[in-house]
């Protein structure tokens, strides 16, 4: 066979293989939209479940997920930013820094169920927080730390070194330089990183399984020390544990969860384009 023909065959094969990845994704989105769209009513989003969750809406699950996710990002964001500041602005090239980096890589690779176990043993039992929004939020906060640190560090790194030199040369201290010049200019990157990790943890189930999620709570949460319903766990429950579940509700729940994640991801993309136009140096 001539090399030309081999190349043609090989390229066609690669193209077909790429479709194998491409088509199922469209299939998933397609099936969710076609079967779940009917469920997307104000009533479904804004009312309580009825008839052993076989009817009514999923408001408590939506509120629960938003609450857990917002709490966890407000814990992880400041800590993650400061950690990135340390790595990018203060850390020297030494053994400690190597170990920190290795730990971050490892934290990123720890299975989510292990975070669930850790959250249960540490936050729920040892710190006596109980199965609660705050215990789940703390567990997820540790889990999203690696990605926040990495994205923040990249955006800190993109702030020109000359800005730091100018500020330091005016006799401004190191921390004030970081606070007044470096962080404000790294903000766009930090923000997009934060939203991206919100999107990721909003769909996490395993870490909140034993730390925050409740099978069924018939009211909206009153405080952070209560257990709550959460969208991903709710989807798991209604699709596996409850017989005779109306299809509309399961698909509707899955669609809302995916929409929540996708809206966040699109916000990131739009923000990125917006900031790319505004911040040029």
């Amino acid at each position: 066979m001539s090399p030309r023909i081999t190349q043609k065959i090989a390229f066609s094969l690669l193209f077909l293989v790429s479709l194998v990845v491409f088509i199922p994704v469209l299939f998933i989105i397609g099936i969710l939209v076609s079967k779940g769209a009917a469920a997307l009513t104000w009533e479904f989003i804004f009312s309580m479940p009825k008839d052993g969750m076989r009817g009514g809406g999923i408001l408590p699950a939506i509120v629960g997920t938003l609450l857990i996710v917002l709490c966890s990002i407000s814990i992880a964001l400041p800590v993650g930013i400061l950690a990135a500041v340390y790595l990018n602005e203060y850390a020297k090239d030494n053994l400690l820094t190597r170990i920190i980096q290795l730990s971050i890589v490892n934290l990123a690779g720890v299975p989510s169920i292990i975070y669930g176990l850790f959250g249960l043993a540490f936050f729920v039992i040892m710190l006596n927080l109980g199965v609660s929004v705050i215990a789940g939020a703390l567990t997820l906060a540790i889990m999203e730390l690696p990605s926040i640190i990495t994205t923040t560090r990249n955006s800190l790194n993109n702030v020109p070194a000359s800005f730091r030199e100018v500020s330091l040369s005016l006799g401004v201290s190191r921390w004030q330089t970081i606070r007044r010049v470096v962080l404000p200019n790294a903000l766009p990157g930090i923000m997009t990183g934060a939203i991206l990790s919100i999107a990721r943890i909003a769909g996490e189930t395993a870490p909140i399984l034993f730390t925050a999620a409740a099978f069924y709570v018939p009211h909206l949460p009153h405080s952070l020390s209560e257990q709550v319903m959460a969208l991903p766990y709710h989807l798991y429950v209604i699709s596996t544990q409850i017989p005779n579940m109306p299809e509309k509700i399961t698909y509707g729940t899955a669609l809302i969860l995916v929409l929540l994640v996708l809206i966040l991801s699109f916000t990131v993309i739009i923000l990125r384009i917006f900031f790319r136009k505004r911040y040029k140096w």
Binding site: P3, Q7, F11, L13, L14, F15, V17, S18, V20, V21, V25, F27, I28, I31, L32, G80, A83, Y86, Y90, A91, I100, S103, I104, V105, N106, L107, A108, G109, P111, S112, I113, I114, Y115, G116, L117, F118, A121, F122, I142, L145, P146, S173, R174, W175, Q176, R200, G203, E204, T205, A206, P232, Y233, Y236, S239, T240, A254, V258, V261, L262, S265
Partner: protein, 292 residues
């Protein structure tokens, strides 16, 4: 006076920054410590050998049996099948995106891969359960579609984003001069690809594969929903299996806190943690090699 105040403030904040900096180490250490601590109380009541070598996981029978061999084999069995499917597909897709696809198709494919990465695993598990599982059952004419094969298909699909995007980075970072050299010698683009580009980007691709497998072996929700959860050593790919992750997720809710069963789940967590730690370490070593 004011200056002294600023000085103290700066000093304090820099201490806090340092503390946050080393927090990652503290958490990795804490996670390990807690798993170890809870797991060790289990080994006080049950022998390590029976735990690692026992074939039967019957935590509720009397006397209970906590052999995780079938669970470990279940996890590895699913992971290996997923690897066999996802590695060739993932690397080929990466190659297509990085080297062949015209810009528009490349952008579309990349956003679809990102889209896939964003879909929560419980949603993928749900869709797989109602579409893939019946399909597998009909196609292969088996009693239940809830099998290690269905799980592996789903996991292979979920590992795609990691494998594709990291492999693509590795392929793109092969210096232009390598390709130029081969083309100048009269090689076709395809020949250049598999003789020059693939070997040169191999460490990066290996890193991508290891990271993807780390993801797969730690995946919980989709696996629990699709693999059938029967704790026995599978004799064929169409047998249901139960993974370590699914065991922890499914049973933790039913155990009594502080019981042997409760501690045994932490012991499984410890085994899982060590396995993923090793996988990630290997992945990181490969990735470091490419960066140089």
């Amino acid at each position: 006076m004011k200056k002294i105040f600023t000085f103290i403030k700066d000093f304090l904040i820099e201490r806090i920054i340092f503390l946050c900096g080393i927090l990652a180490i503290i958490f990795v250490f804490l996670i390990f410590l807690f798993l170890l601590n809870q797991g060790i109380s289990f080994f006080g009541a049950y022998s390590l050998w029976d735990f690692l070598g026992g074939k039967f996981w019957y935590p509720a029978s009397d006397p209970p049996q906590f052999g995780i061999l079938s669970l470990v084999i279940g996890s590895l069995f699913v992971t290996i099948q997923a690897a066999l499917i996802s590695i060739p597909l993932g690397v080929m897709t990466a190659l297509f995106i990085a080297e062949i696809a015209p810009p528009v198709i490349k952008d579309i494919l990349k956003s679809v891969v990102e889209l896939l990465a964003a879909i929560p695993s419980v949603v993928i598990g749900f869709i797989g359960m109602i579409t893939l599982v019946p399909l597998v059952r009909k196609l292969f004419n088996i009693p239940t579609g809830l099998s290690s094969f269905s799980g592996a298909l789903m996991l292979a699909f979920m590992a795609m984003p990691t494998i594709v995007s990291i492999s693509e980075d590795a392929i793109r970072s092969v210096p232009w001069s390598y390709k130029e050299g081969a083309i100048a010698l009269g090689a076709t683009r395809w020949q250049t690809m598999y003789r020059i580009i693939l070997p040169a980007s191999l460490p990066g691709i290996m890193g991508a594969v290891m990271l993807g497998m780390g993801r797969v072996i730690g995946e919980t929700m989709a696996v629990m929903m699709i693999t059938g959860n029967a704790a026995h050593i599978p004799s064929s790919v169409f047998d249901p299996v139960r993974t370590m992750t699914a065991t922890i997720a499914a049973e933790m809710g039913e155990t009594v806190k502080g019981s042997t069963h409760y501690h045994s789940l932490f012991a499984i967590g410890l085994v899982l943690f060590i396995i993923t730690f090793i996988i990630n370490f290997i992945a990181d070593t490969f990735m470091r090699k490419t960066r140089r």
